[in-house]
């Protein structure tokens, strides 16, 4: 069966190395340090007062269920700034089966130019 030494071997990538077990140990130590630092935090805040209420730039707070950011609203700014890109690619993705075949023919033609003619 597999011996323990082969399991613990370091993963060599040709120009570097990677050992998940060492990494996990490091991560655990980092968590430990963070936990210790957390212990130094202030404890004397008062619950159910202004201190724990969320502040939404002065806007009134809605119910929790309505505050959820839906899937299509995530990364709104990113989509907005790349609108030109998505305009092109939405035009490409027509969803018609005939266009799918057309793309296949086009790619075959390009590959033929690259491999067959050159």
């Amino acid at each position: 069966m597999i011996s323990i030494d082969t399991l613990l071997e370091t993963f060599k990538t040709g120009s570097g190395l990677w050992n998940p077990l060492v990494w996990i140990t490091g991560l655990a130590i980092a968590f430990l340090i963070a936990y210790i630092l957390r212990g130094y935090g202030k404890k004397e805040y008062k619950e159910k007062t202004e201190q724990t209420k969320s502040f939404l730039s002065g806007n009134p707070e809605y119910e929790k269920e309505q505050m959820h950011i839906k899937g299509s609203n995530v990364y709104w700014g990113f989509m907005e700034s790349l609108r030109w890109f998505y305009k092109i690619f939405n035009k490409m993705h027509t969803g018609l089966v005939t266009d799918y075949v057309l793309w296949f023919v086009i790619v075959m033609g390009i590959l033929f130019l690259l491999i067959g003619v050159i």
Binding site: G14, S15, W18, V97, Y100, L114
Partner: protein, 528 residues
């Protein structure tokens, strides 16, 4: 006969049995389902388990350095070679392991997932047929046989995609898929006919030994690469893939991932083995004077890969439908394999090439597991909430704890976060591709970050946040679905924690088989 002799006999016949057992099981399923449903489900699982037993038996022997050949209907290879021949080298063995794991998880998952549907005997028949077709594509050493298994896989998977015939979109996706795969497979057959016309052979090894790289061979190469790349979902021929993946039942999608990778295997087999002897040919054209074929082919693969990664990720970012989003991410992941193997092809024969190919091949199994796990999670969410759009989800982590953990594992693995398996293969790809061209590596890393962003979007909008009013009484999914997801998640964590062992024992033989094709040829033809 003692146990060793029996195992030896099994090993000798395992290439045939791996395909034959699912086929026999497929046709026995309608008869057994007359007894009752549980017996049928158990029978299907036992069939797949038996197949997996032979797969691991065969793979463990192939990884030890042997190439297995199996001639149908005769004991030995005879000349002239007219019989159908299965040939299993490291790469085939690697691929059948993937197919075995995926089909096992898919069948276990279907037990509860498809429970409410009728016509399940046909569902399981098709599922076993599809498994047999996939395994056949990976094992066969014969071009025409490859075509037949390709068609078996496409027909079975098309019927499975359109299994929910009460949904118009599912039927439409099935129609798109069968159109694409019928045309692709017919062009593959055309290329095979071109090769047969010149060399009077259908066996891959014999063809590879005789191939001359004439003009007709060039056409055959173009057609084979284009058609198989379309079946593998390379941009811009990827558009069938989100439709098919998004509309199929989740357990079928898992098998479709395997079918896509069988086509990917076809591309690699054509580039490295079928044309392997002529890779050093310098091209005598007017423009590309003096360029070797392997550089040209590698460059083509790399260009396709970069386009695939970029567009796949960017389109995934925009999707709202859960499964479509994962499907676009799967397109991008296929691009990583193409990138690594293409970069390996451009620098064939160097140490960099070996590392790149290793990374690409390691990524095949990682992608199958990661993307497969995510699809299963998507299916679980659909099972629990009957929703597919991310807009209607939220706060699911409260009620579906195990599913959330599995999703988190899949998320981190697919976007290449340490310490899971996606990172191990991606770092191999980054570092080796960087030595070929730094820009490629930078694009790959950037897109990997975007991939993380894609799944953070899903994680945020589906699992986190306050509980939605209409999702209050969502329950955790049944045990068989959790078992299937847990099986894959365990393998992912194991591969992530011990990458060196996996690479040395499984990936290295496959990469060797890809890089040095002469063993494959000489096993059949006897020429060295």
């Amino acid at each position: 006969m003692n146990i060793e002799q029996i195992l030896d006999t099994f090993l000798r016949h395992s290439p045939a049995l791996i395909v034959a057992i699912p086929l026999l099981g497929a046709f026995l399923t309608p008869l057994i389902s007359k007894i009752n449903e549980k017996a049928r489900n158990a029978f299907v699982i036992i069939t797949i388990l038996a197949t997996n037993f032979f797969i691991f038996l065969l793979a463990s022997d192939v990884f030890a350095g042997n190439i297995h050949t199996y001639v149908f209907g005769a004991r030995n290879i005879s000349t002239p070679l007219v019989r159908i021949l299965f040939e299993v080298d490291g790469l085939s063995a690697f691929m059948i392991i993937i197919a075995g794991i995926l089909s096992l998880a898919a069948v276990i998952y279907s037990w509860s997932f498809m429970k409410e549907n009728t016509g399940l005997d046909k569902f399981y028949t098709l599922m076993l047929l599809m498994t047999a077709g996939m395994l056949g594509m990976m094992l066969t050493g014969d071009m025409f046989n490859f075509f037949v298994f390709l068609e078996i896989t496409s027909i079975a998977s098309c019927a499975l995609i359109a299994f929910w015939t009460n949904k118009g979109k599912a039927v439409e996706a099935g129609f798109k898929y069968i159109t694409i795969s019928a045309i692709g497979a017919l062009f593959v057959l055309f290329a095979i006919a071109l090769l047969y016309a010149q060399y009077d052979a259908l066996n891959i090894a014999v063809l590879a030994n005789n191939i001359q790289y004439t003009f007709l061979d060039k056409i055959a190469l173009v057609v084979l690469i284009a058609a198989l790349a379309m079946k593998a979902g390379i941009v811009p021929m990827h558009m069938w893939l989100p439709d098919a993946y998004g509309r199929a039942p989740a357990s079928v999608t898992l098998l479709l991932v395997g079918a896509t990778q069988a086509s990917l295997y076809g591309v690699f087999r054509v580039c490295f083995t079928l044309y392997g002897k002529r890779l050093g040919t310098t091209i005598a054209g007017s423009i590309g004077e003096g360029i070797s074929l392997y550089i040209l082919l590698g460059t083509i693969l790399v260009i396709l890969a970069i386009v695939t990664i970029l567009i796949g990720v960017m389109m995934a970012l925009k999707q709202i439908d859960f499964k479509r989003m994962i499907a676009y991410a799967a397109v991008a992941e296929i691009g990583y394999m193409f990138l690594a193997v293409g970069a390996g092809l451009t620098t064939l024969g160097t140490a960099v090439s070996m590392n790149a190919i290793k990374g690409g091949i390691f990524h095949i199994i990682n992608d199958a597991l990661d993307v497969g796990l995510l699809f299963l999670v998507a299916g679980a969410i659909y099972y629990a909430t009957k929703q597919t759009s991310l807009n209607n989800m939220g706060g699911l982590a409260r009620n579906m704890k195990y599913t959330t953990v599995f999703f988190l594992i899949g998320l981190l693995a697919v976007s290449g976060m340490p310490p899971l398996n996606g990172f191990a293969s991606k770092i191999l790809i980054y570092e080796s591709v960087y030595q070929v061209n730094p820009v490629l590596s930078i694009v790959a890393i950037l897109c990997s970050i975007l991939l993380l962003a894609v799944f953070i979007k899903v994680f945020h909008s589906a699992f986190l946040g306050p509980e939605q009013p209409d999702l209050k009484d969502v329950k955790e999914v049944p045990k068989s679905m959790l078992l299937a997801m847990g099986l894959i998640a365990c393998i992912i964590v194991f591969f992530g924690l011990f990458p060196e062992m996996v690479v040395n024992n499984i990936v290295q033989p496959a990469a060797n088989a890809l890089a040095s094709n002469m063993n494959y040829i000489s096993q059949v033809t006897g020429v060295i």
